[in-house]
């Protein structure tokens, strides 16, 4: 499994791997918000956690295509399915790769981009932590959607339609864990539930996605 992780990471980080693209997309989306909403700092500060979360969500979505599609197209997925490594493990590793190359960089970039949105300085750390804990859910649920649509040639939009509703609880609890801190309230519930959703998706998705892949490569 480690070998698969290393291979996928190498592929993702190479020049054709689209590694920097999600970060660039994140930046652009965050930049768009002031253009749309006006440059008033107070307004921006209010909506900053939500915007950063939505941006991270959308940026995650973009790179989901490559989780299984490339291996499906050249037959590697068939090989992986017939190898001694269980398909659930393959799914988990691929989702982990997606998180390492998308969720983790986005979490690190979020405080920096938060400065663009007048995010208060003491919320920087919480923004990073909330995304760090919440983005694994995005990667795993995204992998589930990718597994379902892997057989489709142009499944990108369908993938978004399937995966985005699944993201709603993560978005709510993740954004709330920062907003509550900004309002001076206790965010333990929101944070714990955000972590819980990440763990839940980590537990469920490998099995559901492995089943979907097996169905698709029949």
């Amino acid at each position: 499994m480690i070998a698969l992780l290393k291979r996928d990471l190498k592929l993702a980080l190479r020049s054709g791997g689209g590694f920097g693209l999600s970060l660039a997309f994140f930046l652009i989306v965050v930049m768009f918000v002031p253009f749309g909403v006006g440059p008033n700092s107070a307004t921006l500060a209010l909506i900053a956690p939500g915007i950063l979360w939505v941006g991270a969500l959308l940026a995650s979505l973009l790179s989901l295509d490559r989780v299984f599609q490339l291996d499906f197209e050249d037959g590697t997925l068939d090989l992986m399915a017939t190898s001694p490594l269980p398909l659930e493990g393959v799914v988990a590793i691929k989702a982990l790769t997606h998180w390492l190359t998308t969720g983790l960089p986005l979490s690190l970039a979020a405080p920096v981009l938060g400065a663009l949105l007048s995010l208060p300085n003491d919320a920087f750390l919480w923004m990073f932590v909330s995304l760090l804990i919440g983005t694994p859910a995005l990667s795993f649920l995204g992998a589930f959607g990718a597994a379902i649509t892997v057989g489709l040639k142009r499944g990108g939009l369908l993938l978004s339609l399937l995966v985005l509703p699944l993201y709603i609880p993560s978005l709510i609890f993740g954004a709330q864990s920062v907003t509550l801190i900004m309002e001076g309230l206790d965010n333990a519930t929101a944070f714990a539930l955000s972590a819980a959703i990440s763990l839940l998706s980590f537990a469920i998705v490998p099995f559901a996605a492995a089943y979907a892949i097996k169905v698709n490569i029949r």
Partner: protein
Amino acid sequence: MRLTDRVLPVVTVLSVGALLVGLIWGFFFTPDDYKQGSTVKIIYLHVPSALMAINAWLMMFVASLIWLIRRHHVSALAARAAAPIGVTMTLIALFTGAIWGQPMWGTYWAWDPRLTSFMILFVFYLGYIALWAAIEDQDTAADLTSVLCLVGSIFALLSRYAVNFWNQGLHQGASLSVDSAQPVDNVFRYPLFVSMAGFMFLFVALVLLRTRTEIRSRRMAALIARERSA
């Protein structure tokens, strides 16, 4: 098919009857509410359709489980057939709610937990229907949509509680929903029950009708395929 041949006309008559009785009784033969005037009568459309929207998804969940475990084709077809009915019920609930909301609260929409949950349910339905439409091989489609329904149900439930959490800071309690606070008066209650029964029978009738159509179309496709290869 023989069982539903006999059951379907009965259910259809029951649904039309109950709907007519419930709606006409409710709309024309009940007094105006002292607080809300006559706008409250839209409850006879709003509540039953909301009820069926949820029930349709539950039925799809059970049917998906049955397909995954027993691989009984009719259950997959029934789930597929129920989805458009469910999405229409959700739409009816959302729109009648908006029509009710304007005179009642002065707004067509509010991000109240209940309304938000229904909007989320609507999107889940859309995804399910889109997936069925996107895949050619019917068995593969049945498998994938079943898994989607199962995982989706977990997250739909999660969303419901997430939305309660998300909104509780703004609106303490369900101050915006009528049927929470005061118990509904007897005068309104019975036509409501009849209307709910009517919608339920309508759902059953429509699902039966659509499933039978799906079964027939599969049989036709099989016959055509057999002809071609013969």
